[in-house]
Structures are given as structure tokens and as C-alpha cells.
Symmetry: C2
Subunit: 266 residues, 2 copies
């Protein structure tokens, strides 16, 4: 395994190491400032409905790139890549149930599969950090707290379900800055969907997340701020019980050649 | 025909008049501050590729809403609407050739048709005007000048072709403001794609547009600024020679219930 000192500095470098079997760990902190993507691979017959679901729910489901049926190279964001080999760890679901967690897709690839690369929160978290907002879980083994809400997504075909959000405690005097800094990145979840008491979006206990680790703020000068989360499309796709669905294993992202700033709208 | 004094003030009001056969004219200036949309209706078999084309080319092809196969109501942007009757004038193309210009789709509707509502420049033009930038063609019979460029779009399936841009001459001291004002609206073409001499994007004569009317600036304190144009997806879809394609007739848009500000990202 690579050490921090030898961490790959670009998406292409990371993908080569993964393909050669030399990198099999979470990608947080790898290839700084490069866009990392959530992966969802589905059969062609549900691809239109899933793309439409993403179009209707751009905050939780920001599309970085779609690889056409049977194609394996992310030509736009990552020339030379191969989606069958370049993700450090995959998960394979049949009819909504986890059946395999392979290091490549040699045994699972089919010519009718369509790959969706969806934006992840790493890009806007870098923007928060650059603006002096501390994220205590960043670069640790801990994960951001995530909650199921009572906010519905807009359905498309077989895809529907509640919005999942991530929670970050922001110093009162940095809340406006946090909104501004993340608004620049609509392609990676963008502006928050809620500021303040989570009860308004159906969160019963703001210290008991449904996924990830609880975050207890130091004192009451911190305000909880909620962003749409990339777990939403995975949960929705899984609930649709597609005959086959392949994703990255949590934390083991596909790293592109794009830079975070390429995704900023201004 | 309605007069300016009696112009419908909302999308719902306009659509009702159109449906009753009482409004059959261009929609410029109708329902102020409401989002107007370009219409492209295509068979289901090419719908995934066309949606993917839009995802890959969001500046010329900003998707406001997609109505699923056989459905006729734009439930998200315009509840109660009927796409078969609510556009003032349609155009019907078979294999890329214009065959009809009907006031409704009673004779052409099929259950496999998918409707794409794409953002149009009216929304960001209002933003320019609010920022003190004059558009001499606005509210007249003249049209904005539009040019084919040598900038390629990113292809998807059968859809490919050059980017078409609209041209606006902006006072030198307002160029930065024009970029800022339109950057707020990525869902309706967003920021310019080029500032200055059009030769850089393949425009040979900046006073001889391929569509619309020439715009000669008063003096050389004006700078030409180019935005991606909604003619692009229509030209691309037409060039694909889809067996059937239905659009709005130029200027006769579908008017939604959404407000321009609903599309602003910040």
C-alpha cells in the first residue's frame, strides 16, 4: 500500500496504480484538487429513467459524466481510463442485495451497462477548508454525519425515495461564507439545502446520523448546515431493486483528470 | 389577437388562451419574469441519447424539464399544462424535413413521444436589461443575431454538430457586469462562451449572422459578447434526421409557471 508521502498526485497516476493492483484503499486525500466521483453502473433499460432522475434532482445527483452502453472509458473527464479496473473497490448488487465486493469488474461486465459518474462532496469540502472552515473528520478515519430526511426527491420511472443530507457544524460568523463558497459548485451538490434545526427537514436527533459518525460541536456558537448528499442516488437506485447494479465501495472513489475549479460556475 | 394592454401576465393564463385558440403569436414580452422554454419532442428510442447530449452540452442545451414517454403534462414547471395544445404554433419534421406547422398536435401525438423543455435566452436577457444593458432588438420585430461556429459540441449517439451562438454588443464598461449577471443563470445558457473578435470561434463576418438580424454597434466602445444558443439542440436534432421530431415554431414558446429567479443559482 502507498504511504501518505507517496500519495498519487493526479487522477491518471492514481488510476494506473489501481489498475496495477497497487492501490486498494479509500481515496480521501489522494490527487489533491482533482474531482472524485461516485460510481453507479446500471443496465441500459433503466438508464434513461436514471439520467432523468439525476436531471430532476441535480443537488443530490450532480452528473459529472455518463459513459454510454458497453463503453468503458470516461472520455470527457478521464481519457484513457477503464471503468472496469480503475476504481479501488467495487460493490455488486443483484435485485438490491449485495452479492460481491470485487477489486475489478472482469467477472461482472456486460455490454448493456451504462456508467454514471456523480459529483461527490470532496470538491466543495476543499472550498470550505480554503475559506477557513474546519471539518474535524477530514483526513481522519471518521466520516461526515449523514441523515435521511422527510424531503422527497422528484421521482422518475422506478427511481424515488427521500433525500439524504450531510451535516456540517459551521461557526455562526462563517455561515454566509459557507453558502457562498459552495454555491460556486452546483456540479458537486452546490449550496446547502437547509440551515439550522434539522427538525424542519425531518431529522429527529441531530447527533444520531443514519450513516457516518456523529459530530458534536464545541459550543452553541456553531450552526448545523445541511447539504444534499451523494448517498441519495445510491439509496434510490438500490431501492429500485435493479436486476444488476454496480457501485464503488464507500470511500473508494473513481478519480478523474478534472480539477475542482473546472466545476465552479463563477 | 390580444393587444399589449391585455397581454397574459402568467404562464397559466397564457396557456389557457393558447389552448382556447385565442393566442396564436410570438410570446416575447408575454408573462413577464416567467420562464419560457424551447420545445423538442422526439421518439422514446432516441430520448436517452438526446438527454445525454443535453447533459454533455449544458450551455446550449439547458434542460428545464423532461416529460416522460406518452405523458403530456409538464408536472414540475407547469402543473395542469398539456404539451399537445399549449404552444402557440408547432413545427413537425419527418426525417429532418418540415412537413407541417399546426396549431396543436391532435393529429401528430403518439404514446412513445418524449418532450424536452429547454431554457431560452429571454430569462438572462431580462437580467441584462435589469443591469442597464440595452438590447436594441428587444420588444421589436427584429431578432438577436445568431452564428454557426467552428466549436464542436460533445456528441451523444446520433446527435452532434457545431455550437450556435447569439451575439450581443455590450458597452466596454459593462462587459464584466454582463458576465456576472448571466453567470447567475446556468439553467438558461449562463455565462458567455466568448468575448471579443468572433474569428476565434470561426465567425467570418460578425455583421452577417446565419440566423436573426445583424446588429451594428453605434461606435467602437462596444464589445461583441457571445452566448451559447438554444438553436444548437434544434439544429443538432434536425441533422440527426429523426423519423419524427416536433418543435415550437420560432418565437412561439412554451411558457411555464416558473419565475426567472427560480433558475438563479445565487
Amino acid at each position: 500500500m502507498t504511504t501518505a508521502a507517496k500519495m498519487p498526485q493526479t487522477g491518471a497516476e492514481l488510476r494506473r496504480l489501481v489498475r496495477e493492483g497497487k492501490f486498494r484503499q479509500p481515496t480521501s486525500g489522494v490527487a489533491p484538487d482533482h474531482v472524485q466521483a461516485n460510481v453507479a453502473i446500471l443496465p441500459k433499460e433503466v438508464a434513461f429513467d436514471f439520467l432523468l432522475f439525476c436531471q430532476r434532482n441535480p443537488k443530490p445527483c450532480p452528473v459529472i459524466e455518463v459513459i454510454e452502453p458497453g463503453q468503458v472509458e470516461a472520455q470527457i473527464s478521464s481519457p484513457g481510463s477503464d471503468i472496469r479496473t480503475d476504481v479501488p473497490l467495487y460493490r455488486v448488487y443483484k435485485d438490491g442485495a449485495l452479492v460481491d465486493e470485487p477489486p475489478n469488474l472482469n467477472e461482472w461486465w456486460r455490454d448493456d451497462l451504462v456508467t454514471f459518474l456523480l459529483g461527490c462532496s470532496f470538491s466543495f469540502e476543499h472550498a470550505l477548508i480554503r475559506n477557513g472552515i474546519e471539518l474535524p473528520y477530514f483526513g481522519t478515519e471518521r466520516n461526515v454525519p449523514m441523515f435521511k430526511t422527510t424531503v422527497p426527491t422528484v421521482p422518475a420511472g422506478p427511481f424515488s425515495g427521500p433525500l439524504v443530507v450531510s451535516q456540517r457544524w459551521i461557526p455562526q460568523d462563517k455561515v454566509v461564507r459557507a453558502v457562498q463558497a459552495t454555491s460556486r459548485f452546483p456540479a458537486v451538490h452546490g449550496a446547502p439545502i437547509h440551515i439550522g434545526d434539522g427538525a424542519a427537514i425531518g431529522i429527529k436527533d441531530q447527533f444520531k446520523p443514519d450513516y457516518g459518525d456523529a459530530w458534536i460541536p464545541e459550543d452553541d456558537s456553531f450552526v448545523p448546515v445541511y447539504w444534499a448528499c451523494g448517498v441519495t442516488p445510491q439509496a434510490v437506485a438500490m431501492a429500485s431493486k435493479s436486476e444488476l447494479m454496480i457501485t464503488h465501495s464507500p470511500g473508494h472513489m473513481f478519480v478523474t483528470d478534472m480539477k475542482d475549479e473546472d466545476l465552479a460556475v463563477f
